[in-house]
Amino acid sequence: MRRSRVLLVDDEEIFARNMSKLLMKRGYEVTVVNGGAAAIRALTSQDFDVMVLDLKMPGTDGMGTLRQVKKLGIPVETLILTGHGSIETAIEAVRLGAYDYLTKPCQIEQLVAKIGLAHAGEDYH
């Protein structure tokens, strides 16, 4: 089976680096970018299965990036992973088309499980 390609979008360098190592250790192919604009560039230049997206970032924030992804019709499942989560932002993100919503800090296994579900592309309905 092909390795899942994950785009990790987070401006927290240490978190992103450690998280990418953990994901890679679990067999994922991980690309790390530090902002919304870089994420769009990466998504338009290569294919990803899942994008793990932080909400609060300098420049284009997570919501803006998600809107742009949907607008451009890029086929990638998005998991929101943020430290500034609230019920309102979660509802908004799901409405914009995010696959799921996680708040920092979260268990690596929890994230891996969500990535697995998102990559499988299974519709739970």
Partner: protein, 601 residues
């Protein structure tokens, strides 16, 4: 010792006064009274001054007119006296011949006729053109006395009528004469009479004007022709300059000597010159007495102003006291409101701080958790690591993970707390609201093998509530329902909304029922005393703080929560909401809003 005590008392009084003056309410009171007094008294003083001035002018003019009338009356009386005397003598001289009058018997009869009603003249005589006294009736023997060299004789022969000033003569008592000429057989002769000065003087000297008024006559040389009432006597020289002759009555304010020689008070003086003799009629009165009415008016005005000032002071003091009391009451209320608002703001700030802190904490926590995971996964297997050290490292990493998860729970609770600091009421469409929350937890539930079913009543009425708290309540309860399936491979959560009789029977309008097929809850207390904090899952895990916070939030929003559970089969949460929030919540919000409005104003 007494002196020292006195000083101490004064010092205490002074310090009390200083403290009172430092009191802002006392200062405001004094300022209010002073301003009120000023605004009230200034117009009063102006009006009082205007009325007083007008009244004084009016009274002075009236008084002057009265004095003028008085002088005029006396003037006419004296003039009439002289005219009557003159007329009588003229009548005698022109209706009788000199020869007839030279008969002493005839002259005596006429003398008696003239004095019949009143003693007017003291003697009567006939003098020929040479100045020889031809006939005489009176107390002295003056027949054959020669007056040819006398001043009066020359004057009467020249002018036809002569009235002398007062003089002593050989009688050594003040008297004056009146003489006129007549002709018989071409020869001029003189009829002369000595006037009874007592009768004449009583005509002037008996006039009394008030306590200080006096009337007298003075000739051109300044010699008194009658005795003044208080000082000097007849024939003495007046202590003031005689003004030149003038027509009519002249009134002036005179400042001269007093009766005892000292500087006299100001006097009102009226002057009128008689036609004949050329004497000056003087009527005097102290100005103070003359203006007595004005003084009374001044005193009355002063008393009125004083009374007004006292009244204004009393009224303004009462008003000021009331004002200060009202101000103190309002200040107390404002301070209380400020305190309440401060508490609310502190709580809100604390909420914001908590939220910020929780959000900021989440980042290092996330980093720490990932590093801990990396360390755990990096531990080498096999003989490279001593088993004891490996065990210690694994134990330490597990402890770090536990502590990090504890921190995570703390930040989650801080975020929940921050949402409850200030309620906001809005219209809430419960069905749509519930669907939004279901969307949020549905994926995770699906991953756990739990399916969500929504049985929502169409046309459910909207309620007025706090959407933020409701979101948290539903999220907690839905998550709780999903987590209740731990150990079960599959299950379902059914959400039902109703506005039926069951809800109304409990005094509410809407019911939301959350039914799960999970492990159920073990109740350690009877159902009526159910405390969510003590609720326990069959596997021994607590249901968590979320359920208790939800129960409190529902109660705060005016709702109620009822739980029915069967261990191993599932739990049924029934939440009942009113259409509008409870009065206590509205009152609290109204007070908060009022406090803000008042302080903003």
């Amino acid at each position: 010792m007494v002196l020292q005590n006195g000083r101490e008392e004064k010092s205490i009084r002074d310090s009390g006064l200083v403290a009172a003056l430092r009191d802002p309410y006392w200062r405001t009171f004094l300022r209010f009274v002073a301003v009120t007094m000023m605004y009230a008294m200034v117009p009063l003083l102006v009006v009082g001054w205007a009325i007083n001035t007008y009244y004084c002018d009016f009274s002075r003019a009236s008084m002057m007119n009265e004095v003028r009338d008085e002088v005029n009356r006396h003037y006419r009386g004296i003039q009439v006296f002289f005219q009557e005397l003159n007329s009588k003598l003229q009548l005698i001289a022109h209706t009788h011949s000199r020869e007839y009058l030279c008969d002493t018997t005839n002259l005596g009869q006429i003398f008696e006729l003239m004095n019949r009603q009143e003693l007017t003249i003291t003697d009567l005589g006939v003098i020929d053109h040479n100045g020889r006294h031809l006939a005489y009736v009176g107390p002295y023997d003056l027949v054959d006395k020669d007056y040819s060299q006398s001043h009066w004789f020359r004057e009467v022969m020249e002018q036809g009528l002569y009235i002398s000033d007062m003089f002593l003569g050989f009688r050594m008592e003040p008297h004056f004469i009146i003489a006129l000429t007549a002709s018989s057989n071409g020869e001029r002769w003189v009829l002369r009479a000595t006037v009874n000065t007592q009768a004449f003087r009583s005509l002037v000297e008996n006039v009394l004007i008030g306590r200080t008024g006096e009337v007298y006559l003075v000739n051109r040389e300044g010699v008194f022709q009658t005795s003044p009432r208080f000082s000097h006597t007849i024939m003495e020289t007046a202590p003031f300059d005689i003004p030149p002759r003038h027509e009519g009555i002249k009134t002036l304010i005179y400042e001269g000597e007093s009766r005892d020689g000292r500087k006299s008070p100001r006097q009102l003086m009226s002057l009128a010159w008689l036609d004949a003799p050329p004497w000056l009629l003087v009527v005097k009165q102290d100005l103070a007495e003359a203006l007595d009415v004005v003084s009374h008016a001044n005193l009355a005005v002063l008393m009125f102003l004083l009374l007004s000032a006292v009244t204004v002071l009393a009224v303004s003091a009462m008003m000021g006291r009331h004002l200060i009391k009202t101000m103190q009451q309002q200040d107390r209320e404002t301070a209380e409101l400020r305190c309440q608002l401060s508490r609310a703001d502190t709580l809100a700030s604390l909420g914001e701080l908590s939220a910020g802190l929780a959000h900021e904490m989440n980042h290092p926590l996330a980093i720490s958790l990932t590093i801990q995971e990396r360390l755990r996964s990096s531990l080498p297997d096999g003989p490279d690591l001593v088993p004891e050290i490996r065990a210690q490292l694994v134990g330490s990493l597990s402890q770090i993970e536990v502590q990090l998860q504890c921190c995570q729970r703390i930040t989650t609770n801080l975020l929940r707390f921050s949402r409850r600091t200030r309620p906001v009421l809005e219209k809430v469409y419960l069905n749509r609201f519930i669907m939004e929350v279901i969307e949020l937890v549905e994926r995770e539930a699906w991953a756990s093998g739990v399916a969500f079913f929504a049985d929502l009543e169409e046309g459910l009425p909207t309620i007025v509530s706090d959407p933020s708290q409701l979101q948290q309540v539903f999220l907690d309860l839905f998550s709780n329902a999903v987590n209740a399936h731990d150990g079960k491979g599959y299950g379902s959560v059914t959400i039902q909304t109703r506005s039926d009789d069951e809800a109304r029977a409990r005094g509410h309008a809407i019911m939301v029922r959350i039914s799960d097929t999970g492990q159920g809850i073990v109740k350690e207390q009877p159902p009526q005393n159910f405390d969510p904090l003590d609720a326990t899952r069959p596997n021994g895990r607590k249901t968590g703080l979320g359920l208790s916070i939800s129960a409190i939030a529902i109660k705060q929003l005016g709702g109620s929560l009822s739980i029915t559970s069967c261990p191993g089969e599932g739990t049924d949460f029934a939440i009942y909401f009113p259409l509008s929030p409870p009065p206590e919540l509205l009152d609290q919000m109204a007070r908060d809003a009022l406090s803000r409005d008042k302080l903003t104003c």
